[in-house]
Each structure stands twice: as structure tokens, then as C-alpha cells.
Symmetry: C2
Subunit: 551 residues, 2 copies
């Protein structure tokens, strides 16, 4: 039996474009004489469709699309994900389903059992969980069809929640009891730099435990904030990695089942990829897909001569092509000559468009207008914020006039503690680095410069500054990023409380102060652009905190 | 048996303040010789605590607080809501629980069965559903304790989802089978202008069906966007409304069970309240609580002379006191004299602080700076947006300098179709009218002017305009609000698709155009301030759409 894995990049809601892609893959699989081609979870509509599922015409279009695909599956079987209607009167109206198509029609529908409902996931909001377990049969082989976390049930995987309350046995057990020859897992599992290894182990453990191969097909591509890494894989019945297909790009591979069962581990097996390299590729894909899927080509960003905007410029040029990146340097009286040089040099190295527009005259006009209100109140952060907002307004004006999409250049550390200006440096359609702590951005900058100085070394070596007042340094207001980021990571990504963090050797007063900064600036993050998610706990949709709570 | 209902206003996360309030009510109930005092759902922590529940120290503080309260319940019983720990290894670590306290300790814990997971509700994200049903006994009476939607199970109530897949019988049936003498329902059910009547009927139907009284205690007060209306009620065993306690304010009432069973309907029964009046009260409470709970006193808003900002000024003055409202009129060369007069007159009528700051000089400095970039490209919406952003920046500067909280003055109609400027008129900490369609704002203005002209009649009668270019009218870009709002209501609030809306007698091309405007401006709403929620489908947390989807 020949099995094709179609790791495709889907566009949420764009059913016709997704259909075209799916049909092309089926034709390709037919050319390879494949018996079966497997597509990712919710391929028809992309993941996550969110509240589009509340519209009946949308779900009808999905089910119509599946029926249309079934018609062309005359001599080949297809496993593909789509929402399906729950025919029962009780429960939610939809399932998250895997359709098994063959001989021109839908042979069976297999629903997802373990619906994730944590972080960015809201599957209980839309879907009824499955409680009926069947095996698909094709060409004499019995196939256990599972959807994403269904296969994770009896695995240890922190940060994920198993809705196991509903089941005395795991979905895998119920299927394994029916003696399948192999397991198919269709997934839409987003990237998190800390989970890559753990996810692989789940599939290895499953194959080993049950003694049958696993074929897993993951989505690839980004849907706004969510980035799917691909990395679909084939594990043989001994739990050995037979093949891992591409990260962060579409791929199509075929496998002979007998070969998976009898050959030694496959030659194409990838070497493990370093975190920082994966983050780089994730962000590039995140930018690329945001533009492709929103129908725009050109990006705009403010280049400050600092490390964050420098890294964003590099990523944007890589993702969109240097000819599509427009950068603006907007100095004030507090900007250093070093900043201008660094911004200018980087723009030259990247060969991106570069413009300089000073803000002092606009600042003066604001101060003039505000004089009757401000009277003799001394300068404070108000004046710093005005500068940031002038820059934000200039960028938005250029964005509007020239049809460019503005990229946000702020980072997770400053977003966490509120060291940002709402409607100023928090502007942008997409926050490229919003899920990277400052120390990770330094790592990324060093990775970018690994073989050649792209980002001027001065940018990396000099102390970070917002340059919003004379001789300002980030450390005037914040602890060293080395310390700050470690505390933030434990509080935000690991949900540790103050005492537990202090026990790791941090000053308790400092931890309290930082946690307070995080909790009291929730209102700023509520209005932030979506951050490209590369961790298992980004700000944005996946972290939901009250705004005027007292902690 | 004397039963006290404590309809209190809770602050999310502020356990110590909530505790103080709870203890005071218990003491008061003791003075009235009450046998039982009932508090709302999740009283200890406020509703909804959201991801604060992911922190172990937070949930420990909640359970500690309940134990402390139990200690003072020596001669009185208390029913109170709090998260409780799930002692089982399987499932989520928490329950949403009602504690029954008496004789100085926790007598029993009753968990919520039907966890809402639609719109703003994410209870499956945090809580394990109950599957164990017991009756509490006190002074010879058997009490069926239910939490919010548990009582709704066998009721028709559109827009709500019943997780009835888990149960062959409803939680109510399981409790009724155990012959309770009365039902207690503790709730945190937020206000929606269209659901008030329906919610009452649920309780009436339940009491009638089972032939026993129902005592329902709802939270009152606002937690950022979510507004709880109170309106706790007592229904006798015949399904007659015995008493309805206050809307939109704290209240404490005591009832003699025998009297509920044997007296005719209570004299205090409220007359039904009109929608528009309830909306007015909801918004006033929403503003008041946002400030009280975030620790601020003073509000700032831009007064344009238009209807939206006029209505916000009235509401803010009512909520915070005229001395705490600071208004700024920011004219440009496109502002009409009528606008200045209207803004000025309203500020005078309300006796709120009023400042005028023109924006033309700042606009000129922006245009001067942008000349090299814009070259000869003709004026377009870019210049309109710059004006809105200058105003947004001026307001934020005043807000920063004087410690005022900026109120947003945009409405649901313009938010829906994107007839707004991100980082401009979309600025603000709280969107007061973000869940009111423009036509509802006219209704509200007329309600405000019912007995006396507060908002100048000119403001209500003249055609709405953004005044961002010469002789501009909203109708240059949008259909009449009468038509627009009807289409938007069906698409957004009722989830109808294009064909179904067109079938109601609207031009299909117009419906398509409007739906496209809604779907293509999701990115703007993603960065909007939270709107005070008064409908069953507001923008914000309760409506989750993909950002770069194709529809």
C-alpha cells in the first residue's frame, strides 16, 4: 500500500483556494499510484476557523466541498479534515472530523474525541466530542484514524489538557482494540519552540506501545498569530523515526507501507533542528503568510537603530523580499548619531527602502497646543509617549498613503511589563517579535549574524534604550533583561506564582514588583496587535486575563 | 425559615475586598435572624476570573477564604460560590462550586454541571463539570443548590449552549428526584437587553414545573466589559414572581419561606423595566465600576458636537459626577460652528470641565514632514486618519499628564464596518457605546432628553458627520443607519448568513457589501478597547473571528 502525506498550507475560510490545493495533491498522489493520501486536520477550512463556524452557510460550504472532493476519489482513498454536522439533536451542532473518502463517496466520518480547550484553543466552543470509535478499511488494511490530540491521551505532555473525564479508556485504546494495521493522525498543531521534541516523542511512544506504524500529517503555514510548523512524520512499528518531512514549508511525500515495516530507518531523516533556527524560520513564515493571506505585498516599519526593529527588518526582507520592505528612521533630539548610522547601515546591507523623517517639529506643535492644558506641570512620561505616538502616526500615515502593512517591532519583555506606548510603538498590524523575550531577540540577532555581520555589531553590543529622553537606558526603569526575562518566563509561560519563582533564587520583592507590572498593564496588551506565537504561552488570544482585576 | 439574598458587587481577583463585603452581609443576616444567606456565583473571586485560575496561589487564596468564612457561620448557614479543587486525578483541576457552610465548617460542596462555553464564556477552559448530585439539609428543609445555567437545562433559551451531551437527565431532574423543599440558584449572569424577559421565564417555568420555590441571587456590577444586572428574584411554588430585587445596584433582602409559600405575590414586585432605561443604567454602572475597580476617579473624552460623544459625556457625568469629567473639543478647519456650539452648550449643561484645542497647526506639521514621502499623491483617507490620530494623541497626552482615564466614544455600527481610525477615534480605555448600534444611540439620546433638553436637539436632528473633510456626511460612505443597523444586527447578533438576511427584504448586493466590510475590518476591532456589553453579542472577547481569513 502506497501512502501519500500532503503537508499543505491552508488559508482560514478560503475554502475554494484550499480545495484547489487539495485537488492538485490528490492528482499528484494518483500519478504516484498512491492508494491513500492524507491531509491535515480541518484542511477544508483551515485552522482555527473560530466563530466562522457559527454561520450556517460557512459550515455548509465545508461539507459541500468534502462531497465534491469525494467525487474525484474514484481510485484513490483520501483522509481529510473538515467540520461535519452532528445529526443528533443533543450537543453542539458540529464535529471536528476526519472524512474517509473512496470510490467516489464518503465511506466514513471519524470525529475528534479530545477537544483542546486551553491557551489559544477553544474547540469545546464549537465541537461535540466523539464517543464512537470505528476503523476504516482500505485495500485489506485496517486504519485507525485519529485527529491531533486524540493520539496524545495516554502521553505525558505538560501544558495541554486532556478532556479525559469523558472516557474511561483513551480513544487510542478503543481503536487499538479493533486491530488496526497502522495509525493515521491528522493534525493542526501549532509551533512552540519548547515542545518540538515532546511532540515527536508522543508519536514514537504510541507506535512503540502498540507495535504499529504512525503516519502524522500536520498543517504548515501561519494563520495570523498561529504558526504551524509542518514536520509531519512517519514512525515505524518499532517506534523508530522513519521519516520527518519538511519544517515550515509545504511538502508531499509518498511511502510504501511494506517499506516502513521492513526497511531500516529512512535515509531522509532530518537532523534535529536548533530552537533558534526554528524560531527564525517560524517568524519568516509568519510574516510571509500574513501578507500572502491578507493580500498585501509590502511592509513598513520604523527603524530605530535598536535591536528589535533591526531584527524585524531582517525577517521582513527575508520573508517578503528586500524590494517590499520600506523603513523609516524618525529621529528626535534624543536620538544618538549611532542610531542613525546603525539604521542607515542596516537598510543599506538589506537593500531595503529607507526614509528619514524627524519628529521634533511635530513634537513642538503638540507641546505648543498642549501648553494651556499642561501649564507648568514638569515633563514626565507624557512627553515620551507623545514622541512614540508621533512616530506611530507617521508610520500609519505612510502605511495608509502607500498601501503598506505596518509591522510592529516591540517584544514580549516590554509588552509584559508595559514598557511601551499604546497607540505609539505598540502600533502595527502584526507583532513580529511579540512572543520573544528580549534575551531571545539577542539570540536571534546573533544567529542572523552567524556567518556575516548583517545587523551592525554596535546594535547588539550597546545597552538598549528607547531614546525618549536624554541618556535614557532601559535599565533606568527595568531590571537587567537577563533577570527580568527569567522571572517573566516563569510567571507567564510556566504559570508559577510569586513564591515559587522566588524559591528559584530571585529576590522576592523584585518578583512581586515585576508580577505587579505585568498584571497592571493588561489593558495595554488587550489593544495590542496579534503576536506571532512561537512559545506555548504568547500574549494575545491564548492568555486571557481580567483587565481591572486586583491581584 | 428566613432566607437572605445578598446581591453584591464583586471585584474580580480582589479576594480581601470581596471577603469584607461578604462578612458584612453575613453579620447583617445574623441581625435579621436569618437561617440562611445566599451569595452569587464565584463571589469569592468575582466573575470571570479567567486565567487567574491558572495560578495556584490564586485558587488557594479562594479556598482559604471560604474556610475563613465558614468559621464565622456558627448560627447561620451560607451558600456561596467559589472555585474548588478537584480531588480526582482525572479532569481539570477545578470546579465552579457552591459551598454550603454551617456550624463553623464546610458542610458540602455542590459543583456546576452545565458549564457555558459560548460568547464570552470559557468555563470548560477551567472547570470540570459535575456529575454528582446531592441535596443540602438545613433546619429540616431540603435545599437543591444549583449554579446559574444548571437550572436552564430543560428550558428553551436561544444563544446559550447546553452541554447536555454529558447527561441523560438534567441536573435539575437529578436534584428534584431527591425531593427538595426549595431551589437556590446562585448566578453570575451578565446583562443583555434582549434576554431579560427570557431569563425570568426560565425561573418561573422551573418553579411551576416542580412546584417548589426558587431563590435566585445574581451578581451585580461590572467587570470591565461584562455588566451584571442583579435583578435577583424569588418565585413561589406556583411559578408566580414573589419578588424581584434591585436592578444595577447592590441589594439585600430577607424572606420568610412560609410567607413565600402562602402569601399572595409580594407587594414589592417591580414593574417591567424598559430596555432603553436598563441600557442607560447598565452603561452608567459600567463606567462607574470600571473607574472604581481600576482605582481612578476622573474621565476624559473628546467632545465633537456629535451624538456619540454627547451621550458618553452624559453617561460619564452621571456615573462619576460632573466634577470628574474632563472634555476637550478639538476642532479643525472642517469643524462646523454648530459642532463647537453644541459641544460647548452640552459641557455647560452638564457642568463638566471643557477645553478647546485646535488641531490644524499639528496637522500642518505632519503634512510638512510627510511631504517628501507623499510627494504629489492626492489627498485621501490618509489625511482624515491623521486628524483622528492627532486627536487621539492629544487626548492620551492629557490623560497621561493629568491622570485621567480616556473614554472611547465610538459605536457598534462604525466599529462593525470599520468606519473608524485605529489609534485615533478608536483610542480609549473603555468603549462606552461600543455595543450600541447608532440607532440605539439615538434612542438613548431621546431617553436622556425625555424630560428636559440635556443634549442639544441640533445634535440629535442633524445628519451625522465625522467632519474629517469638507461637507462630509456618514452617508457618503455608509447606507442610512436605519438599514445598516438592521443588517448588522442580523449578521452579528443573530449569526444569520447573507441569503437569510436578504430574504428579510434587503438588497442582496448591499448585504454582501456590508458583510464584506465587517469581515475585512476584523484587524481593527482586534485592537479596540473593550466595549461595555449590553447585547448578547458584543465585539471583544465574545466574538472571535480570524483576522486574515477569506470569507
Amino acid at each position: 500500500m502506497i501512502i501519500a502525506l500532503a503537508q499543505i498550507n491552508l488559508h482560514v475560510g478560503n475554502i475554494s483556494e484550499n480545495m484547489t490545493k487539495i485537488v492538485l495533491c490528490i492528482k499528484k498522489a494518483q500519478q504516484y499510484k498512491a492508494d491513500l493520501v492524507v491531509f491535515p486536520e480541518l484542511s477544508i477550512c483551515g485552522y482555527p476557523p473560530l466563530d466562522m463556524l457559527d454561520y450556517r452557510d460557512f459550515t455548509s460550504k465545508c461539507t459541500d466541498a468534502v462531497e465534491n472532493i469525494a467525487r474525484i476519489c474514484t481510485d484513490i482513498a483520501v483522509i481529510i479534515g473538515s467540520p461535519s454536522l452532528n445529526p443528533n439533536k443533543q450537543g453542539k451542532s458540529l464535529y471536528n472530523s476526519a472524512y474517509f473518502l473512496f470510490a467516489g463517496k464518503i465511506q466514513s466520518i471519524h470525529h475528534k474525541t479530545l477537544l483542546p480547550d486551553y491557551d489559544v484553543f477553544d474547540e469545546y466552543r464549537y465541537f461535540e466530542p466523539n464517543n464512537h470509535f470505528t476503523i476504516a478499511e482500505h485495500n485489506g488494511k485496517r486504519i485507525a484514524i485519529t485527529i491531533c490530540e486524540d493520539l496524545w491521551f495516554d502521553q505525558k505532555f505538560d501544558n495541554s489538557f486532556y478532556n479525559n473525564r469523558l472516557y474511561s479508556a483513551s480513544p487510542m485504546e478503543k481503536l487499538i482494540n479493533q486491530n488496526p494495521d497502522f495509525i493515521v493522525n491528522i493534525a493542526a498543531s501549532p509551533f512552540s519552540w519548547s515542545k518540538v521534541q515532546q511532540k515527536k516523542e508522543i508519536f514514537i511512544n504510541t507506535a512503540k506501545k502498540h507495535g504499529i506504524p504512525v503516519f502524522m500529517v500536520n498543517q504548515v503555514g501561519a494563520n495570523t498569530d498561529l504558526i504551524f510548523e509542518g514536520g509531519s512524520l512517519v514512525i515505524n512499528h518499532k517506534g523508530e523515526l522513519f521519516d520527518r518531512i519538511s519544517w515550515f514549508e509545504e511538502d508531499f511525500q509518498i511511502y510504501e507501507l511494506q517499506e516502513v515495516l521492513h526497511s531500516p530507518a529512512h535515509g531522509k531523516k532530518q537532523v534535529p533542528t536548533e530552537s533558534i533556527q526554528m524560531i527564525y524560520r517560524a517568524l519568516v513564515m509568519g510574516i510571509k503568510d500574513f501578507f500572502a493571506k491578507s493580500g498585501f505585498q509590502k511592509a513598513l516599519l520604523g527603524l530605530s537603530g535598536g535591536i528589535d526593529s533591526s531584527v524585524v527588518a531582517v525577517l521582513a526582507a527575508e520573508a517578503l523580499g528586500h524590494e517590499n520592505v520600506y523603513s523609516v528612521y524618525m529621529p528626535s533630539r534624543f536620538s544618538s548619531e549611532l542610531s542613525r548610522e546603525a539604521a542607515c547601515k542596516l537598510a543599506g546591507t538589506l537593500n531595503i527602502s529607507f526614509q528619514e523623517t524627524g519628529i521634533d517639529n511635530i513634537m513642538d506643535s503638540f507641546q505648543e497646543s498642549l501648553k494651556p492644558v499642561f501649564e507648568d506641570i514638569p515633563e514626565d512620561t507624557t512627553e515620551e509617549n507623545i514622541q512614540a505616538r508621533i512616530r506611530g502616526t507617521l508610520l500609519m500615515a505612510i502605511s495608509n498613503k502607500l498601501g503598506l502593512i505596518m509591522l510592529n517591532t516591540s517584544n514580549k519583555s516590554e509588552a509584559a511589563v508595559g514598557y511601551t506606548t499604546l497607540y505609539g510603538d505598540m502600533n502595527g498590524a502584526l507583532s513580529v517579535l511579540g512572543d520573544l523575550y528580549k534575551t531571545q531577540i539577542y539570540d536571534l540577532a546573533r544567529y542572523i549574524n552567524l556567518h556575516k555581520e548583517i545587523i551592525p555589531e554596535d546594535v547588539i553590543s550597546r545597552p538598549p534604550s528607547a531614546e525618549l529622553k536624554k541618556d535614557q537606558k532601559d535599565t533606568d526603569s527595568l531590571p537587567d533583561y537577563d533577570v527580568l526575562d527569567k522571572i517573566l518566563f516563569q510567571y507567564i509561560d510556566q504559570h508559577k506564582d510569586i513564591s515559587s519563582i522566588a524559591e528559584e533564587g530571585f529576590d522576592k520583592n523584585l518578583v512581586e514588583k515585576i508580577v505587579h507590572m505585568v498584571n497592571s498593564t493588561e489593558y495595554k496588551r488587550y489593544q495590542s496587535p496579534p503576536p506571532l506565537r512561537i512559545s506555548s504561552k504568547a500574549f494575545g488570544r491564548g492568555r486571557r486575563m481580567p483587565l481591572v482585576a486586583k491581584f
